[in-house]
Structure formats: structure tokens, C-alpha cells
């Protein structure tokens, strides 16, 4: 039964390699994009940490900066 499903009338190697290639490409793109995102987020947190209190206060007044920091701490 399992052999029949995998063999797919002799086309199994073609079908499964096409699906595997697609899923591998998805995984690779997802991981690369995620790692780029985390890298930028970490850079932002590090830069924010190095600001003096006055500059940090000014930066925090922007909502988007607050959201990036909140998102980074949640991750």
C-alpha cells in the first residue's frame, strides 16, 4: 500500500522531487528572511541601548520605535 503510494505508477520520483524542491525552497526562503529580520531587530535594540537617556526618550516618542522594541522583547 505504502509502496504503491510512493511509486505513483512509476512517477513517484518525479512527483516527490518536485514537491520536495518546492518545500525546501520555501523553508530556505523563510529561514533567510527570518534571520535577516532578527539581525536588523537585534541591531536596533543594541543601538537603542547605547543611546543616552535624552535621545532614548526622543526615540521612544515615535510609536514605531516602541513597537519594534516591544516586538523584539516578545520574540
Amino acid at each position: 500500500m505504502i509502496n504503491e503510494i510512493i511509486s505513483m505508477n512509476g512517477y513517484g520520483s518525479y512527483v516527490l522531487s518536485a514537491f520536495s524542491f518546492t518545500l525546501l525552497s520555501f523553508s530556505a526562503l523563510y529561514l533567510i528572511t527570518k534571520s535577516q529580520f532578527i539581525k536588523e531587530q537585534d541591531k536596533f535594540v543594541a543601538k537603542f541601548g547605547s543611546l543616552n537617556s535624552e535621545k532614548a526618550k526622543s526615540a521612544k516618542s515615535q510609536r514605531i520605535n516602541k513597537e519594534i522594541l516591544a516586538d523584539a522583547t516578545n520574540n
Binding site: 503510494i5 505513483m8 505508477n9 512509476g10 512517477y11 513517484g12 518525479y14 512527483v15 522531487s17 518536485a18 514537491f19 524542491f21 518546492t22 525552497s25 520555501f26 526562503l29 523563510y30 528572511t33 527570518k34 535577516q36 529580520f37 536588523e40 531587530q41 541591531k43 536596533f44 543601538k47 537603542f48 543611546l51 535621545k55 526622543s58 526615540a59 515615535q62 510609536r63 514605531i64 520605535n65 513597537e67 519594534i68 516586538d71
Partner: protein
């Protein structure tokens, strides 16, 4: 006019959306894979080799759709001098590029058992390869040009040139004698594909569209954080 497209407003949505899109993508993909690999019938001529269609066709559709979107966004960005349109276009490009590669590779895998060859310089395949080159040029331009004005001009020019190829891809099967069959799915006229194959194909297309949305959101958020990083440097 484009206040809705302000990054500060968009980030509130785009920062939270990826986890929900990922969950939805996994659900739709699981249903799609079950349908495509196990439940959909085999073709009377191609037998089980037809199942490759469920990854090949959605990948080709989405890569074409993304390139068209990138072109319109670049033109809008250029005409209305709105940087955010360029950012959206830039964030869409990586998934379009990968879908184009998937379409070419799975097409080659499908070609071997059905046509007896991995590759042929057929009008449809060649025009898809040209689209991949336009995607590559677009992505490389963002890497090599540093000034915004220059990169906006060059990427818009590349997309305008590349969009000429999109109708060629679509109608290549009608204009030339190619190994590809004419379109089985038509929006304006009756489709010639049976519903038992059409529904799995549409489910897989939905899954692929969700994946490109997920990558777009993650990439767009990365671009916004990059801009904010530069902003912190200037403080």
C-alpha cells in the same frame, strides 16, 4: 492621498500579522498537499505525473502576479514620489524570484516524464527564464546602487522593460507552436480542467499566495527596521 501607506501606520499591522499568516499558510498547505498528492485523480494520459502541476502552475502564476505588482508599485512610486511603494515592491521581489525558480525547476522535472526532456528552448520556458533574469537584475540593483534616487529610477526601468515579457509568457502558447498546451483555466470562458483537479490547484495557489504574503510581511518589517536603524544613527 497615500496616508494609509505611511510606514508608521502600516507597521502596527505588519508586525503582528506574520504569525497568523504562517498559521493559516500551514493549514491551507496541509489541505492542499493532501488533495494534490493523495485525493486528486490521476490523469488519463499523464497518470500521476500530473500531480507536479499542483506546484508548478501556482508557482508560475504567483511569480507573474508578483512581477506585475512590482511594476505597478514602482511606476506609482516614481510618479507620486512615494518611497513606500518602492519598499513594498522591494519586499515582494524575493518571493517572486523564488516562485519563478520553483516554476522552472518543477517544469523541468515534469518535462522529463511527459516530453522526454528536462529542458527545451520552448517559447513559454524561455520567456519564463527571461523573467527570472529580470527578477535577478531587479534584486541586484537594490544591492549595488546606494543612492535612493538612482535605485528607484533603475528598478522602475527594469520592471517596465520586464513587464513587456509578461503578456509574451501568457500568450506564448497561442502565438507559437510550443510544447506547452494552451491554457486550461480561463477567467472569461469555460475552463477545460475538471473540478476534481481544479479545486486542489486553487487550494495550492491559495497556500502559495499566503506564503508570499508571509515573506512579504517579514521582508517589509525588516526594511522598516533598517530605516529606523539609520534614524537612530542620526539622533
Amino acid at each position: 492621498m497615500f496616508k494609509f501607506f505611511e510606514p508608521n501606520k502600516i507597521f502596527q499591522i505588519t508586525s503582528k500579522a506574520p504569525k497568523y499568516v504562517l498559521l493559516l499558510f500551514i493549514i491551507v498547505l496541509s489541505i492542499g498537499l493532501t488533495e494534490a498528492l493523495f485525493l486528486s485523480p490521476e490523469d488519463y494520459k499523464q497518470s500521476d505525473a500530473v500531480r507536479i502541476m499542483y506546484v508548478h502552475v501556482p508557482a508560475a502564476w504567483i511569480s507573474l502576479g508578483i512581477f506585475s505588482s512590482i511594476t505597478f508599485l514602482s511606476i506609482f512610486g516614481f510618479v507620486f514620489k512615494n518611497k513606500n511603494f518602492f519598499l513594498i515592491a522591494k519586499s515582494l521581489a524575493p518571493s517572486g524570484f523564488v516562485f519563478n525558480i520553483i516554476a522552472l525547476v518543477t517544469g523541468a522535472i515534469w518535462g522529463k516524464p511527459t516530453w522526454g526532456t528536462w529542458w527545451a528552448w520552448d517559447a513559454r520556458i524561455t520567456s519564463m527564464l527571461i523573467l527570472l533574469l529580470f527578477y535577478a537584475m531587479y534584486l541586484i540593483s537594490w544591492r549595488i546602487y546606494e543612492t535612493e534616487e538612482k535605485v528607484f529610477k533603475i528598478t522602475t526601468f527594469i520592471t517596465i522593460l520586464g513587464i513587456i515579457n509578461v503578456p509574451i509568457i501568457k500568450y506564448s502558447v497561442d502565438w507559437w507552436n510550443t510544447l506547452h498546451q494552451p491554457a486550461s483555466i480561463n477567467i472569461l470562458s469555460k475552463s477545460t480542467i475538471h473540478s476534481s483537479m481544479l479545486y486542489p490547484l486553487l487550494i495550492m495557489t491559495a497556500a502559495f499566495a499566503l506564503f508570499s504574503l508571509l515573506i512579504f510581511l517579514m521582508k517589509y518589517n525588516t526594511e522598516l527596521i533598517k530605516i529606523k536603524n539609520k534614524g537612530l544613527d542620526r539622533l
